[in-house]
């Protein structure tokens, strides 16, 4: 009896163990894996995330003039594999933990990204673009030789280069 009273008194002194969540700001522990976000300006469309995704929540649909990226929040298992494997850091796991939602909000909870292809100026073939952010981050210094012919596809670029080489020879 005496121990019970002691415990009760001690607990009263300590205060509540839970927090009044909706009314108070809640923090998550370090390394918490929450909702996935996607940055289309960094995506190179390599499909590594599709390959490693455990719940098959990530999809990339390649169409004729664009590719569509989608993450379904309800299917995501929060395994963080996509963030670990994404070579450019386009996918990030946030600390957001509000995982419950109404069925009508399914489409609001999914992430969609649409990246249009660029058209080759010579052969009219559609080519996957290189994100400007990634190019600036990775290419050091004055190494921008590709920029002169960035508007044409690799095959046309090779042909143009061969032509240039022959021109140099004729001179």
């Amino acid at each position: 009896m005496l121990t019970t009273i002691k415990t009760v008194l001690a607990n009263i002194g300590r205060g509540p163990a839970t927090s009044r969540y909706p009314f108070v700001e809640e923090t998550v522990p370090k390394g918490f894996r929450g909702k996935v976000t996607y940055d289309p300006s960094k995506c190179i469309g390599c499909k590594t995330c599709v390959h490693v995704c455990a719940g098959k929540a990530i999809k990339i649909d390649e169409k004729t003039d664009c590719f569509d990226f989608s993450v379904w929040d309800g299917t995501c298992t929060r395994c963080q594999m996509c963030e670990n494997f994404c070579p450019t850091g386009a996918i990030k796991v946030t600390e957001e933990f509000h995982n419950a939602y109404l069925a009508e909000d399914v489409y609001k909870k999914a992430h969609f990204g649409n990246i249009p292809y660029i058209q080759c100026a010579e052969c009219k073939k559609m080519i996957k673009p290189l994100p400007e952010v990634v190019a600036q981050e990775k290419l050091k210094g004055e190494n921008i030789a590709y920029k002169e012919r960035s508007y044409i596809c690799p095959d046309c670029r090779r042909k143009a280069m061969a032509k240039d080489l022959m021109k140099g020879l004729a001179r």
Binding site: P87, L130, A135, Y146, K159, M161, M166
Partner: protein, 157 residues
């Protein structure tokens, strides 16, 4: 200066023997190209840039510049994203979409380690492809030009 493959387009006859030789060395995939400019064939292959943009852009660090000066892609690390293909000023890399693998000239690195010259150079029947230093090539050319000048000088006297 590392050794590279140089080509003399005015000698090349466009027999495509180098493509065949390359395919024999690389499991049936030819990594070289022959581009026709009007009537003249121009053999194109990786130029093995010293400061290669493909090696810089590679997100998985699969493309590396080796000690021999060759720009080599490892098949284990490559994810076939095609970034290298977009930054190459010469348009050389090619992505195998079924295997998700980028393929490009590796300067026959396995042959170089054995002390041999690249397969395309060895099999070029007209010697339009040559393997060596740029300085070596320039020195040879200078010698030839000097000999020519001497001959014309002799005939003038």
């Amino acid at each position: 200066m590392s050794k590279r493959v140089y080509f003399l387009p005015n000698i090349c006859a466009g027999c495509e023997e180098c493509l065949e030789a390359c395919a024999r060395e690389h499991q049936g995939n030819s990594l070289d190209y022959i581009e026709m400019v009007d009537l003249y064939p121009v053999p194109m292959r990786c130029f093995h840039c010293a400061d290669a943009p493909c090696a810089q852009i590679c997100p998985t660090k699969s493309i590396q510049v080796t000690e021999e000066g060759a720009v080599v892609s490892s098949s284990e690390k490559c994810i076939g994203c095609g970034s290298c293909l977009l930054v190459c000023p010469f348009g050389i890399p090619k992505v195998d979409t079924t295997k998700k693998l980028m393929r490009k000239c590796d300067l026959c690195i396995h042959r170089l380690k054995e002390g041999k010259i690249p397969s395309c150079v060895q099999n070029c029947s007209l010697k339009a492809l040559q393997f060596g230093d740029v300085e070596e090539y320039e020195a040879n050319k200078r010698k030839k030009a000097a000999a020519k000048l001497q001959r014309t000088g002799d005939s003038a006297l």
